[in-house]
Each structure stands twice: as C-alpha cells, then as structure tokens.
C-alpha cells in the first residue's frame, strides 16, 4: 500500500541540472505516465525513484517514508527496463525467482510464486528456456514476471515496449493495463509514445527539459493543455498553432487577427490578461476544423493522407503557415485544390505571450 510523493526533486550531473524541481504526488494504485521528448529527464526521474540515481536535492517519499537514501531493494519498488535486462545465464525460471532466492524464501513458496507469475503472464511453457531463446515480447513478459513476484508497492517501467513491433506493442499495452487492474499496485510508466500514455494513464506527467509542464488526466491534457508545449505534444496529429495578434480584448473575449486568420473573436474566461497588440498563439485541433465555404481559413492542399475512416490534409495558407485538418473519410481532395475551413470559436485555444494557455470561457 503505497503512494508516492516527490517534493522539489532535483538532479544535477556536475554543473548541469537535468531535473529542475519536480513536485508530484501519486495515489496508491494510480497509473502514472511520464511523457516528454527524448532527453527531458523521464528516465532520470524514474531511476531516482528506483534508487539507481542519487537525488541531488528534494524529498522522495514512498508510502510515508522518506527514502532519499534508502537502498533500491528496500524501497519496495520493482523496475522493468527497456532492454529487459534479463540475466543471460539463467533460465526464465531462475530469472523470475532471482529476487526471491536472494530473500532466502523457502523453495516451495518460491516455486509457487514463480508459477503463479508465469500463469498470469501466460509463459508457463517458457520457464526452462534461456533469455536468448525468447522473442522480444516473451523477454518483456519475463522482465515483468520478475517484477511481479517481488510483490512491490510500486512498479516502474522505463519504455518497456519500445523494442517491440507495433502489433505486439498494442497487445502488451493491454496486458499491462490488465495487470494494473489485477494487481492494484501503483505503476509509474515512462514512454514517449502518446498512445501508450493516453490509453494507460490515470495521470500523465508531461516533462520538458527537466521541468513538469502539466500533470493531469489524459483528457485534461488533451482538452486543456496548460501551455504551448503540452498543446503541441499531446494529440496526434498535432494541434495547429498559429501566431496571431490580439486586436481587441474585452473582459471575456479576445479578438485575434493575423496574416493567416481574419478577425475572429474567441470567448475566454475573465482575468485573461491579454492586452490589444499582444502577439499570441491561436490553437485549433485538426479534427475541430470543418469544411465551410464561409470559413476564415483558406489554403492549398499540400498533402492528403486517406486513411479510410478519415482524411488528413495538410494545407498551405497564403500567410505561409501550414495547417493540418482531419476531415471525414468521404472527403475527396487532390493536391493543389483550394479548401476553405471553419471552426467553432469555443474550440479554439489561445496562448499568451509566455506560451501559457488562456482559460477558455
């Protein structure tokens, strides 16, 4: 039974600070996903929780115990690595049972646990094999089995599926999700695949350059990104972001215009702090664009991706900006066609001069 509490966690390598003060609390049983671009510090953060990396500054609590200096094995965590990290000289059985053997668990009990884990992961017939005789997906199962038998309070996964092909990734993703429901343990999962993040997470932590950009449920992040970074990072295809000028602002509306966009009034919450003349960013999700002959956005088709159920078009706007729209699969478009698009003003997002989201109305 353990949640997690990170308080102003920092990490420096020499003079370079790579984690710049992370605050996060994780409830017991929660599935938390860290996402962010390569090098943003996801693994470092995870490894600090595991105890594989010293914490330069801040406090880490697992359960209600401060564990900054606790040995990895005493933290009640288990980790699954991207490279699986199976012991090459041991059978699957011994790999899974290694931790139990070190704990001096009696053999019958150990055997029971190993077989139980093998059953959960459907790898009973693999127990006698060596890791070199397994496929990538099977290896990952073994790595997860090794974590399960230790019965940890917290599971840590560092991009566990990124070495697998797309189909296998999909099915393993479902298994991990099932496992989470089955075990009810706290899980922290690092990925840079946003489908994994969106489908698995109770809570997503978006990191960039060692700083938490936003923490929230997948839909929170999708519907109300806190800033430009999150807006651009979550969602596929990416949200369209276009630089505009605030031409007018009232208490609860902002009127924007720019080379790409004729004057448009967007409803916002009061206290938005936008002044006329500010250069701000207008954002709209591709699927929130619809064909509308009277619409404000008109562009030339650059690229058409016909996926059957939907059609993704890239448009070149006269202003030089590019726009991506997800249109119904029935839309037949050709390169060079001119398309006019409109949107519902309440779906539009605005980001102020600092890149922070303006609260919608």
């Amino acid at each position: 039974m353990a949640g997690l509490e990170l308080k102003d966690i920092r990490k420096s390598y020499g003079n370079v600070e790579v984690i710049k003060g992370v605050d996060l609390s994780v409830e017991h049983g929660e599935f938390v996903v860290f996402v962010g671009p390569s090098g943003c510090g996801k693994s470092t953060l995870l490894r600090m929780i595991a105890g594989l990396e010293d914490i330069t500054d801040g406090d880490l609590y697992i359960g209600d115990k401060r564990v900054n200096t606790t040995q990895p094995r005493d933290r009640g965590v288990a980790m699954v690595f991207q490279s699986y990290a199976l012991y090459p000289h041991m059978s699957v059985y011994d790999n899974v049972g290694f931790g139990l053997r070190l704990k001096k668990m009696p053999k019958p009990e150990r055997d029971k646990k190993i077989r139980e884990a093998a059953r959960i992961l459907q790898m009973e017939e693999l127990l006698e094999r060596r890791p070199s005789q397994l496929s990538g997906g099977q290896r990952q199962r073994v790595a997860i089995g090794r974590a399960i038998v230790r019965n940890p309070d917290v599971f840590l996964f560092d991009e566990p599926l990124s070495n697998l092909d797309a189909a296998l990734r999909g099915s393993m993703r479902m298994e991990i999700s099932k496992l989470h429901n089955q075990l009810g343990a706290t899980m922290i999962y690092v990925t840079h695949d946003q489908v994994e993040a969106m489908t698995l997470a109770d809570k997503i932590v978006v990191l960039n350059a060692g700083i938490v950009q936003q923490i929230g449920s997948p839909l929170d992040l999708y519907n109300s990104p806190a800033n430009l970074f999150v807006a651009g990072f979550i969602g596929s295809p990416k949200m369209n972001l276009i630089a505009v000028t605030a031409s007018d602002a009232t208490a609860d509306t902002v009127t924007i215009s720019g080379p790409a966009l004729p004057s448009t009034t967007i409803p916002v919450a009061t206290g938005h702090g936008i002044k006329p003349g500010d250069t701000i960013t207008f954002g709209i999700r591709p699927h929130q664009l619809v064909r509308d002959e009277a619409g404000p956005l008109k562009g030339k088709v650059l690229l058409v991706e016909q996926l059957g159920n939907e059609t993704i078009v890239n448009l070149d706007l006269p202003s030089g900006d590019q726009l991506v729209a997800t249109l119904p699969g029935s839309a037949i478009l050709h390169l060079g066609d001119t398309v006019t698009l409109g949107f519902d003003a309440k779906n539009a997002k605005l980001f102020d001069t600092n890149g922070d989201a303006v609260k919608p109305a």
Partner: protein
C-alpha cells in the same frame, strides 16, 4: 546452410587452407624441432640441424635424454613448484583483479578515476627496474606461517606469488569487459535485492567467462615463465620453478638433447592449461549467449 558450391568457392577455400597451414607451420616447427631433438643424442642433434632431418624422428631415437634430464635436475620438483605457484597466483589474482575491476566499473567513489589511471600507468614500468627495491622489501617482511613469525620472505613459495597477485593488465582487461556489459543488468540485480558482492558473484562472474579465461591464460604464461624474480629470491632448490631450473643444463658442458627433453616436459603444462581454458572459453560464450 545449403550447399551451394561454386568453383570460385572451392578455389577460395583451398587458398585459405593453404595459408592457414603455412601459418600453422611457423608455430609448429619450433615445437616439432624441440620434441624431435629431445629424442636424439647430442652429436646427431647438432648434425641434423643443417637438414630437414632436424624435424624428423630419424636415426638414433631414444628416451635417454629424458632419463639424463631427471638425473641432472629434480625436474618433477621444478614442474610441481611452477604449477603450484602459477595456479595459486592465477586463481587469487583473477579473484582480486576482477573484484577491483568490478569496483572501478560499477561503484562510485572518490578518486576513482585517479586511482585507476595510476594503476594503468604502472603498465609502463618494466619489472626489471623495480626488482631490486622489491627484493629489499620482501627481504624485510614478516610472515606468519606454520613455524611462527619469520622475517624475510626469501626461499619461499609466497615470495614468488604475492608480488604478482594484482597487476594492472589483468585489472584493465576486466574493467574493459565489465564496462561493456549492460548497466541495466547490474541495476536489475540491485533492485532484486542483491548486495554488491552478490551482483559480482551471481550476475557478473557467470557471464564474464570469456574474460576470466583470457586473463587466466595471460597470467598463466607470465607466471609460468617467471625467471628473473625467482632467480633473485630462491637460493634453495626446494622452491625453484622450471625456468630457473633450466640453468642446471647449461653448466660446464651444455647437453642440448637434455635441454630439449627438459623443455619438452615443461611445455606440457602450458599446452594442457591452454587447451582446457580454450574449451571453457568457447563453452562459456555459447552458454551465456551474451553475444546473441
């Protein structure tokens, strides 16, 4: 693999074997010469060196030189001494050097880089330059053995072992190998609850077979071929190794046949050790599958 035999392929294989045989000859001939000569009386041995007969067991062949060698020197004792000193040193040094390398490769401690570079730097110091100072050191060290405390280490087995228990080359070999092993393996073991020593014993050692075998062979050769140091520290025949024993055959009149017989005998342990380790080496690569 399917047998696709193009003429080109046959020609290439033939050439490759021809080349391999030629290279093998270069290594085999001296050994052949040694063994064949050990069977011949001195006069014939010297005469044969000018012809192909040097490599053929022809003429007056006998084991006389072997009996002669045993009469001239305590050959069995020398071989025993050498094997004993060598094996003990190899075993202990593999253990110590691999542990040191483990620390250098995986642990974080103050001054690690500096200490490692100092160790590596000792590689460039020839043993000859430190032999005399070292002699003075060992001559004044105490040793607690079966007969209580004794001062001075001369004329013992341990004086021939202790200075070689740790060496930079062996440590370096292990460090390089350990650094190439996936770091996650150690981390996984740490999370599984292994102490550092358990990581060493249960995870690293079992997959480091190839480097242990390599280090063992190199160390074996160094130790078995020791000459200068044992010459300096052993005045008593009881603890003398084989290379120093060779002197017995160069006194007054050199008996070349007996020299060859002696050399043939002292080469056998080297070959045996090498063959055994080579098998272990291949077996360990195959079983850990670490390269696949």
């Amino acid at each position: 693999m399917a047998a696709v035999t193009e003429p080109n392929h046959v020609a290439r294989t033939t050439w490759r074997y021809a080349l391999l045989i030629a290279v093998a000859m270069i290594f085999v001939f001296p050994i052949l010469f040694m063994v064949v000569s050990s069977l011949k009386p001195d006069a014939q041995l010297l005469r044969d060196t000018s012809s192909i007969a040097a490599f053929l067991p022809v003429g007056d062949i006998s084991l006389d030189n072997y009996f002669g060698a045993f009469r001239r020197a305590p050959v069995g004792l020398f071989i025993f001494n050498s094997i004993f000193i060598t094996l003990v040193t190899v075993l202990i040094s593999l253990f110590l050097c691999s542990l040191a390398a483990f620390a250098f490769a995986y642990l974080e401690f103050r001054g690690k880089a500096v200490i490692l570079s100092i160790i590596i730097a000792t590689l460039i110091i020839p043993f000859e330059t430190i032999a005399i100072p070292m002699l003075m050191v060992v001559n004044s060290l105490p040793f607690i053995g079966a007969n209580g405390v004794q001062w001075g280490w001369l004329n013992t087995y341990h004086v021939q072992m202790v200075p070689f228990l740790a060496d930079a080359l062996t440590i370096f070999l292990f460090v390089q190998y350990f650094k190439d092993l996936p770091k996650e393996l150690i981390e996984a073991a740490r999370l599984d609850g292994a102490s550092w020593f358990q990581v060493y014993r249960l995870v690293i050692v079992p997959i480091a077979g190839p480097v242990f075998a390599t280090a063992a062979i190199l160390k074996f050769l160094v130790m078995y071929n020791q000459y200068l140091w044992p010459l300096m520290v052993t005045q008593s025949e009881q603890v003398r190794p084989v290379m120093v024993g060779l002197q017995y055959f160069f006194q007054l009149n050199t008996a070349w046949g007996e020299v060859m017989a002696y050399l043939s005998m002292i080469t056998i342990p080297v070959l045996a050790f090498y063959l055994v380790l080579q098998r272990a080496f291949i077996a360990s690569i195959a079983s850990t599958g670490i390269k696949g």
